[in-house]
Symmetry: C2
Subunit: 319 residues, 2 copies
């Protein structure tokens, strides 16, 4: 049995403390002291992941650690911000499990390292397993990607592939435990699109991350921008293996309404498409045009041949 | 039944959003954008309050909201930082209780207003009641009050009064429900000593907030500063009504080991005592000398006449 202090020290203190960029006083005092970059905006967000709600209670600890940070960093990606620092509130059940905690810390730290984001503080309390992660990033003023900048005529584009998060969760619930399966990878180890967000600064007109599902997050983008959109249903870039795993119909639903993909959904003036694609290709990431913003309200589903299908309004649920 | 989004909007969105100082993009996008003050250090900390562990499950909602923020702001106070912004992770049981939530929000916002600290983000999840609060403050470099600056010969001083938090909790557990009782006030509505922290910049050599109890937090100060201390037992400024409520012996124990006081415990070079007292008097706050830092390790308890009593070492528990 370890005290909270020992837990924190053992698994979450960098070595040496305070050695990270921009940290002028590291973990171990009442606060951590940071040196924000002059002239930048500080982008902040917090997300809490609760066992049994946001991830299966039997998910691998390394994935729980990774995902808890990934979902918060995804918000920074959607602002076009660099991930700089994070703080973690860890609520642990009374029964200590050092092996679990070591794996959890490993997943968390690995993503910190990959994202260049330093863990600069946190606390540990007892209770149902939950992880709250506050992230702090930086972005120059005027370069932040907000939700409100999409204009009629802008292309509706999405990074990477859709439906993989929902597909992976469905497989997990059916008992699939091969964590190398591409869909399980997508669900358990989503990659926040930080580099893509940076690359699309100055090109995209608006951005949001796809955490709740394409249609749900598109609604937020449309609300904030005061526009509507046409969505080309046949163009959705479905995750590799999704149709094989779920069948065509369920795969399409996962692409439209599945959560946990953490791709970026953006508005893009057509003249920026080639440059945007080139920049993302350099990151090994696809950028797919899935529709166009319009001045009609709501979302109009159209087929590849231009036929109009269902219509979706905010709060109206899935087609 | 409200969606998370409605809950957040209804109780936690400022009106108008983003109207607070230093907020260039308010709640409602993927991140909030803040404009840190050039040349200042950003002081950050997070504390999570869990029902049944950090406060009684039947504590008044207004007090739960107040305390959740107060305990985090207290960390900024102990750094000599201004409280500027905060984010809240609220985990709520499945059963909505709008009256409870309204009171909770009222307690939280009232302290935000009093402390000049803006709520700039948050999330709401379902689970056992818990509130994680990340605070961000600012302090000029070189003026931060750290734990590591105490030197032998410095006075050991404490703001306000001790034992009131533990006394109030004891009364609550005995069934006292008059929330105007001074000790219940101390426990349910602790006041983070932000103004005192600012006033003692440039005077104090070290600081920590008393959250776990005087001796426990003194240990942290001594460890970080690499010094010891003599503690004058008769000099502890016990909270008003504490002896009457608990009896002399239990009151003394509450002063030494009781948590939840959120006073500042500081090192102070003797030549700064008068100025420090004057500044705190202007805030209506007492500053009491309760001992002196030394180059012997551990804590030596002495009586007012200089007699040496018990000795306490870090991790050694109460005298």
């Amino acid at each position: 049995m370890h005290s909270e202090f020992e837990l924190i020290t053992r698994f979450f203190t960098p070595d040496p403390p305070g050695a990270e960029a921009g940290v002028t006083l590291g973990v171990g005092d009442d606060c951590t002291l940071l040196a924000p970059t002059p002239g930048q905006r500080l982008a902040v967000s917090v997300d809490t992941s609760v066992a049994g709600i946001h991830f299966p209670v039997d998910a691998p600890a390394v994935a729980v650690g990774h995902r808890a940070l990934a979902v918060s960093l995804s918000d920074l990606a959607a602002m076009g911000a660099h991930g700089r620092w994070c703080l973690m509130s860890l609520t642990l059940p009374a029964a200590d499990d050092e092996a679990w905690l070591a794996d959890f810390a490993r997943g968390f730290h690995a993503l910190c390292d990959a994202a260049g984001t330093a863990l600069v503080g946190g606390d540990v309390t007892r209770g149902e397993l939950a992880i709250g992660v506050t992230v702090m990033g930086e972005v120059p003023p005027e370069q932040a990607l907000t939700r409100s900048g999409a204009r009629p005529g802008d292309l509706l584009v999405v990074t990477g592939a859709l439906g993989g998060g929902a597909g992976g969760l469905a497989l997990w619930q059916r008992g699939e435990r091969d964590t190398d399966h591409p869909l399980l990878q997508r669900y358990l180890h989503p990659l926040p699109r930080l580099e893509a967000g940076l690359a699309l600064r100055g090109l995209a007109s608006a951005a949001i991350d796809v955490s709740d599902g394409l249609l749900a997050d598109l609604d937020h983008l449309l609300d904030a921008s005061g526009v509507g959109a046409e969505l080309t249903l046949d163009s959705l870039p479905l995750a590799e293996g999704l149709v094989a795993a779920l069948g065509e119909e369920e795969a399409q639903q996962a692409g439209l309404n599945g959560g946990d993909d953490y791709e970026l959904l953006l508005g893009l003036p057509p003249e920026h498409l080639d440059k945007a694609r080139d920049r993302l290709a350099a990151l090994g990431l696809a950028l797919t045009v899935i529709g166009r913003f319009s001045d009609e309200s709501g979302v109009q589903g159209v087929t590849a041949t231009g036929e109009r299908g269902w219509q979706h309004f905010a709060g109206g649920g899935a087609p």
